[in-house]
Amino acid sequence: MLNCVIIFVINLEGIEKMYNILVCDDDKEIVKAIEIYLSKEGYNILKAYDGMEALEILKNNDDIQLIILDIMMPKLDGIETANIIRKDKSIPIIMLSAKSEDYDKISGLNNGADDYVTKPFNPLELIARVNSQIRRYTSLGAMVKKEEDNNIYKSGDLIINDSTKTVEVDGKEVKLTPTEYNILKFLTKNKGIVYSIEQIYENVWEEESYGAENIIAVHIRHIREKIEINPREPKYLKVIWGIGYKIEKLD
């Protein structure tokens, strides 16, 4: 609740322009619920109840910044719709489906979706993902100038500024404790590489590990809770169980 309100406030402040989101699902109640949530975030919602309708709206309206697509729909399903949209448009697409198998997600992402949310969804998660996609789509290239700085480590939309000791995810600042910050900085600096608890300990604390600490694991979980939209399905800080942790290389 609190989180939601904070995001709400931040968005109200940051948004000057109303972004248009096309929501497409054959279940009218779900579309309505999404509309209620996203309208509160200050988005303008366009509604469609099957793939054909969605395509029709897209044809007549060029000013759409995001599409939320269900997969199982009459007439034209979400996968095919996404395929058709991808032929001439680079608008971000979030797939929203009851299908939760790995191969469903993979086939969705392979067919032009930028993100995949399973039903029943957590409204806060959906909102966070929508915000993330919109921000990426509308402010692409804004970060380029910062990349020159030696003290900046980044992966995707995770940016660590070592000069100011600040961490930014999806354009929002995240508050971390010094230990958490050091762990995250170390992993982001060496993004893509998997480090075991012992290795992280030795590198961050710069002293020998005694092997019995699970403190690192606790810290990592806290970091995940702070920087990830869904800590159970992390985007940046990945857990490889039984091996270690890494920051996903997202560039």
Binding site: P120, N214, A217, V239, I240, W241, I243
Partner: protein, 684 residues
């Protein structure tokens, strides 16, 4: 399809007729070539008249002439022999005039002779009386004008026939004549037989009459001519005959109607019986050939020839019939099966197959004992052969036993495999002895049935998973609306405590429904094995640290103290990282839900030889009046109320996932102590 070469019927019939004719010609040629016909003489190109055959024939003619003369002189009625007194003439001999009476007869012989009995002054000739010369000198001239002659005069032989040069043909030495002489000796007292006759003989230059000399001359000339050409003719004939064989073989068994080989009753009887029949018929035909002996008249001769022809034909037909049936049998692949040996073999096999195995064993045993006794008997008389036979007998017995033992072991192994759950067994029928082939077949069938049943079970599990997955999709869509609208309702600031409480219940139940749906899909997937595993080498210590890091806050919330015992070294297992977490997550979350507050939770990593076991112990909040088996079942929880969070699928999912990753998952209950042991094979 390959087009079969077909011989026209007419060609086949011609071949049938031509074949025996050519064979007979070939046989004659071979006989001619191998006939011992004075090969040296032929080589020198010499005439028949220089051969022994001629000399013998000629000598016989002379002797028969002498015999006739000898008989004539005792019989006054010369005419009875066809001789009659032709003339009486006076001749001067040694200064005295003598009277000679000469008899002549017509004889169809190429040897002409004049024999003069010096005692009785009688002359005999086989020259015709009507000869123009009616005196002895004329006859002598007639004889002398031929090139081949043999004369006996004043104890001297003069001849131009080499083979008769010596006195080997002398009438005195002739046993034939000697007998006659001895007979006459008894009657007359004449001693000096040598001077008794004067003989003039010769062979007609142009052989006019058909007698032995004529026939032999013809034969001789023919054979020597043939011999010169036989060396060329025989290969040609052999080639033609060989060329005819495929034509005949191809045509055999075909009827005018069909091109297929048709069999008649004769082709179906035992080949030995067929051979016997053919042999008997052939022999009957062959016997006809002997009728030629003892024929004298022309009529008899013609009859004999026709009988011989019929006999030959019968023999030939018998041969052809037998040949045809052999070819037909070979063509239809029934040759071996119609032999007596095969018949005996198949009957014995059938008999052995039908009798019970214990009787069969008895039979074998009796045969073995009898063979043993025979062997010992032979050893008694001839040690070496006896020992050799014994070795053969024991080797055969050993092989017989060995094959059966091997078959037994094969079947035993297959059953053992089956018992261990390996249904991929197939005993090769040919590899076991005949007595166990049926058993082998039955085991194969059982294995097939089992494997089918297992497949069926897997298939039904997969269908169940599919059904659950589909149903869960259909549940999820309305559930999405329920969860979302409950959430929206909560934000509507509804008045009244009761409404808020109801909303809270709706919220928690809809969340539980969501969890239940997800767990249900996962449980069915895990138990049906419809999960793709990505096996990696995992560090167990790291894994436990990571997982306890995840649950630290929850444990603290329930005042649970976690005590982990790590082994001194790093230990690794092969497992899927994600699913391994799911297993431990379920365990940890169970602990945080069901462990009694203010207690310690023990997590030990123990190395047991080649295995690594993760042992998790905690004290249950509730009384565990339930068995481990019941606890492992789906939807069962350690409490009866079912009111708390959780689906009751956690343990079931954990166990299924562990077993999928080749690990073992066991629960032990001891009072309120709840203990889970997860074991994996140690990875290098």
């Amino acid at each position: 399809m390959k087009k079969k070469f077909c011989v026209p019927r007419i060609l086949k019939n011609i071949a049938y007729v031509l074949f025996p004719v050519l064979v007979i010609i070939l046989l004659l040629l071979v006989i001619c070539l191998t006939y011992p016909l004075e090969k040296s003489a032929i080589k020198q190109g010499l005439n028949y008249f220089e051969t022994n055959t001629f000399a013998e024939d000629y000598a016989n003619e002379i002797l028969s002439g002498l015999y006739a003369a000898d008989n004539l002189k005792e019989d006054s009625f010369h005419s009875a022999y066809g001789y009659y007194i032709n003339n009486v003439e006076s001749i001067e001999e040694n200064g005295e005039i003598k009277e000679i009476t000469y008899c002549s007869a017509y004889s169809e012989s190429n040897v002409i002779w004049l024999i003069i009995d010096n005692k009785t002054k009688m002359a005999y000739t086989n020259l015709e009386y009507s000869l123009e010369t009616s005196n002895l000198n004329g006859i002598k001239n007639e004889i002398a004008q031929n090139q081949k002659y043999w004369n006996y005069e004043n104890n001297k032989i003069s001849t131009n026939i080499k083979k008769l040069n010596n006195e080997n043909i002398s009438y005195i030495n002739s046993s034939f004549y000697q007998n006659q002489l001895e007979k006459s000796d008894e009657n007359s007292e004449s001693n000096n037989k040598k001077n008794e006759y004067t003989i003039y003989t010769s062979v007609l230059d142009d052989l006019e009459y058909i007698d032995n000399i004529y026939i032999n001359n013809i034969l001789y000339n023919t054979i020597s001519t043939i011999n010169q050409k036989a060396l060329f003719l025989i290969p040609v004939l052999i080639i033609i005959i060989i060329g005819l064989v495929p034509l005949i073989i191809n045509g055999v068994g075909k009827t005018a109607k069909s091109e297929e080989t048709s069999l008649n009753w004769y082709d179906k009887i035992l080949i030995e019986v067929a051979a016997l029949m053919a042999f008997l018929i052939g022999t009957i035909g062959f016997c006809f050939l002997f009728t030629i002996t003892g024929t004298s008249t022309m009529a008899e001769f013609i009859l004999a020839i026709s009988i011989i022809s019929v006999g030959s034909l019968i023999t030939y037909l018998a041969c052809i019939m037998f040949f045809e049936t052999i070819v037909k049998r070979i063509k239809t692949h029934t040759f071996v099966k119609t032999t007596f040996a095969y018949w005996v073999y198949s009957k014995t096999k059938k008999f052995l197959d039908e009798i019970k195995i214990n009787y069969k064993f008895m039979l074998y045993f009796v045969i073995f004992i009898l063979a043993n006794i025979i062997c010992f008997g032979i050893m008694w008389s001839d040690g070496f052969i006896g020992i050799i036979l014994s070795i053969v007998l024991y080797t055969l017995t050993y092989r017989l036993l060995n094959k059966r033992i091997k078959s037994y072991l094969k079947i035993k192994g297959a059953i053992h495999n089956l018992y261990n759950g390996n249904t991929e067994i197939e005993i090769d029928r040919m590899e076991v002895c005949r007595e166990m082939q049926d058993t082998a077949n039955e085991i194969n069938n059982i294995a097939g049935g089992l494997s089918n049943a297992l497949e069926e079970k897997l298939k039904s599990e997969r269908l169940k998973t599919e059904l659950i997955t589909n149903v869960s999709h259909d549940i999820k869509t309305p559930l999405t609306s329920i969860i979302n609208y409950v959430d929206l309702l909560k934000k509507e600031n509804i008045e009244g405590e009761k409404a808020k409480e109801y909303l809270q219940i709706l919220d928690s139940k809809s969340q539980r429904l969501k969890k239940l749906t997800e767990d249900l899909v996962e449980a069915s997937k895990a138990s049906s094995g419809a999960i793709k595993l990505n096996m990696e080498k995992l560090n167990v210590n790291e894994l436990i640290k990571q997982v306890s890091g995840e649950f630290e806050d929850k444990f603290k919330l329930h005042n649970l103290q976690e005590i982990i015992t790590f082994p001194e070294e790093e230990v690794y297992i092969n497992a899927d990282s994600r699913y391994m977490y799911r297993v431990l997550e379920n365990m940890y979350s169970n602990i945080s839900k069901y462990a009694m507050e203010q207690t310690r939770v023990y997590i030990d990593i123990v190395i047991k030889e080649s295995k690594i076991s993760i042992q998790i112990k905690n004290v249950s909040k509730q009384k565990l009046n339930i068995t481990t088996e019941e606890l492992m079942q789906r939807f069962v929880r350690g409490e009866a109320s079912r009111n708390t969070e959780g689906s009751g699928l956690g343990l079931s999912i954990a166990r299924s996932l562990t077993e999928l990753q080749q690990g073992s998952f066991n629960i032990y209950l001891d009072g309120d102590l709840f203990k889970v042991i997860i074991e994996f094979q140690k990875a290098n």
